[in-house]
Amino acid sequence: MSMVMQSAPSAETAPSVRQRAPLFRLHRASVWIWCLTLAGISLIAVSIPAVSAGVSFWFYLFQWIALASALNLMAGMTGYVPFGFAAFFGIGAYAAAVLSQFHHAPTWAALVGATAAGALLAVLFAPTLRLRGVFFSVVSLSLAIVLRSVIVLLPEDVAGGSSGITITGRHDPIRLYYLMVAVSMGAVAIATAISVTPHGLRLKAIGDDLDAAQIIGVNAKGLRLAMWMLSGTIAAVCGALEGLYSSAIDPAAAFNILISTKAIIYAALGGLGTVMGPVVGAVLMTITDELIWTRFPIANLFILGLIVSATVLFFPRGIVGSLLQRHPRFRRWFF
């Protein structure tokens, strides 16, 4: 009974805090600073074509930011690591290329088609979410390989066969670049929005302990499916933009498992489960990639491997994750 008396003051103080939306451990200003940073990045990105001859480096930089962030929505937030992530990229690339080349669709229609294809594939593959751990990873990888083989087996006038499709229709590369910037900033914004609402907490809770999450009423199945759809669709749009941008696609490149592994590695090096991590990881690794490719043409793969392995040994939770782990005061500023 004594507890009943003690709980009374809380009911009285409650109205005074009603306006204060909780951001959990975060300092409120941190989200604003992060949004301003993203706005700054977008501003720089938009002005690149005016000052630089080629946008190719920047296009791929933003592509990897988008892919790493999209992968993180699934792998980082729910603990499901989809090795078959490339399937979404590939299906998006193929949908856009087929629509553009065989059905003369304009850019926007090709992109809409690719989005729909990605969402459809996510629904088709949704039953794999019953599995977990390596089972999920390997089955999702197998499905990607199956999908690639099916596309190779389709008649050439439907999907280009084993030699792929060359897109002769005109798609302005600068416009595609702007779209890629928009997609990647959109992906990061979605991750941010999820992360600062209780949904982000719920996703992490599912990753930590599924049973305990369900028993407090978290709809794990529904949330996981939502992340799967989001993550897959973003990857499909990336694939479509890349396909149109490079104007040539083939099954081996579009469904390259390196797309999955690179997205996983970039996100993990930055910090899986954090919002900033995949962005940091993608930016650092794309730049590193670029630098060592040009400086050390022979040793580039070796150096890349060394960086990946060493980072895992010394920052096992990724750069951002390890920072938060070691310095509790940063938990209020980085997420």
Binding site: R132, V134, G305
Partner: protein, 294 residues
């Protein structure tokens, strides 16, 4: 039965046992330590290149490459694990950490091979006497017989080790519960180190044997072997040695028979389709009891 069919079956048996071996060495490490060795394929590939050096460059018999590959990869893996093993297993998510770490290793090994041997496909050149056997009107290359023979010795030896020796039993127990092992006084760190090195050694031997069966390989073939290895152990059931063998056989048979009946590209598809089907019906794999369901 047509001779084509018989040929395909013989091929499938040869490949199946090699795939089984591939899965076996992978599952020992994955099952017992939750280490996803993404560089496993590169270790196999390194074994193939050892066979290339020993036969094509130095002119010895491929059989001589077997101990060389085993020792070389054993030592490399020993050094690697001595440096990284403890840190990886202490990570919050050893599976993810090891996956990334070994991805880095696989890049380093592949680029090392690229540096030493160029990007061109290599094949082993060797002279067996006789070059092939005729059995029931069927020509079976001696290389295949040798590969299968060695695998047939290696697989039972591994099973004896896993099921009859104390270390083997401890290793299999580690699939279920590491902490319990620690409490009963097993030096899990040392056990892991030895198991990882042995697994790498076997991967190297597998590479020599695969080089006898598969005509050519490049520094980039490693990922395919890794994928095959993981598919095989998931198909059979994670952590189950017998499952790895069974998974290898099924994967090889589906690949070979579909290639025969439908064509090359369908052959690739069949193995993966079977994996998806098996996991849909028996989500723990054919003979696995690992926790699989969400």
């Amino acid at each position: 039965m047509t001779s084509l069919m018989t040929g395909a079956i013989v091929n499938a048996i040869a490949l199946g046992i090699l795939y089984g071996l591939l899965g076996l060495s992978l599952t020992i490490v994955y099952g017992a330590m939750r280490i996803a060795n993404l560089a496993h394929g590169e270790m196999v590939l390194a074994g193939s290149y050892v066979a290339y050096v020993v036969t094509t460059q130095l002119g010895y018999s491929p059989l001589a490459a077997i101990p060389v590959a085993f020792i070389l990869l054993f030592l490399l893996a020993f050094a690697l694990f001595a440096v990284a093993g403890r840190r990886l297993q202490a990570a919050r998510d050893p599976e993810m950490a090891s996956f990334l770490f070994f991805y880095g290793v696989s890049l380093m090994v592949a680029s090392g091979l690229l540096f030493l041997f160029d990007a061109d496909a290599r094949s082993v050149i060797f002279q067996f006497q006789p070059l092939s056997y005729r059995v029931l009107g069927l020509v079976i290359p001696k290389a295949r017989v040798v590969a299968v023979g060695v695998a047939m010795v290696l697989v039972p030896a591994l099973f004896l080790f896993l099921y009859r020796t104390t270390s083997g039993k401890a290793l299999r127990a580690a699939v279920m519960n590491r902490d319990a092992l620690r409490i009963v006084g097993v030096d899990v760190e040392r056990l892991s180190l030895v198991a990882f090195s042995v697994s790498a050694g076997i991967a190297g031997v597998t590479g020599v044997l695969l080089a006898l069966v598969f005509p050519a390989f490049t520094p980039f073939s490693g990922l395919d072997y890794t994928i095959t290895g993981f598919v095989v152990i998931v198909l059979g059931g994670l952590g189950s040695p017998l499952g790895a063998l069974l998974g290898g056989m099924i994967f090889a048979f589906s690949e070979q028979l579909t290639t025969l009946w439908i064509g090359q590209s369908a052959g690739v598809l069949a193995g993966f389709l079977i994996l998806v089907l098996v996991v849909a019906i028996r989500p723990a794999g054919l003979i696995g009891q690992a926790e699989w369901k969400s």
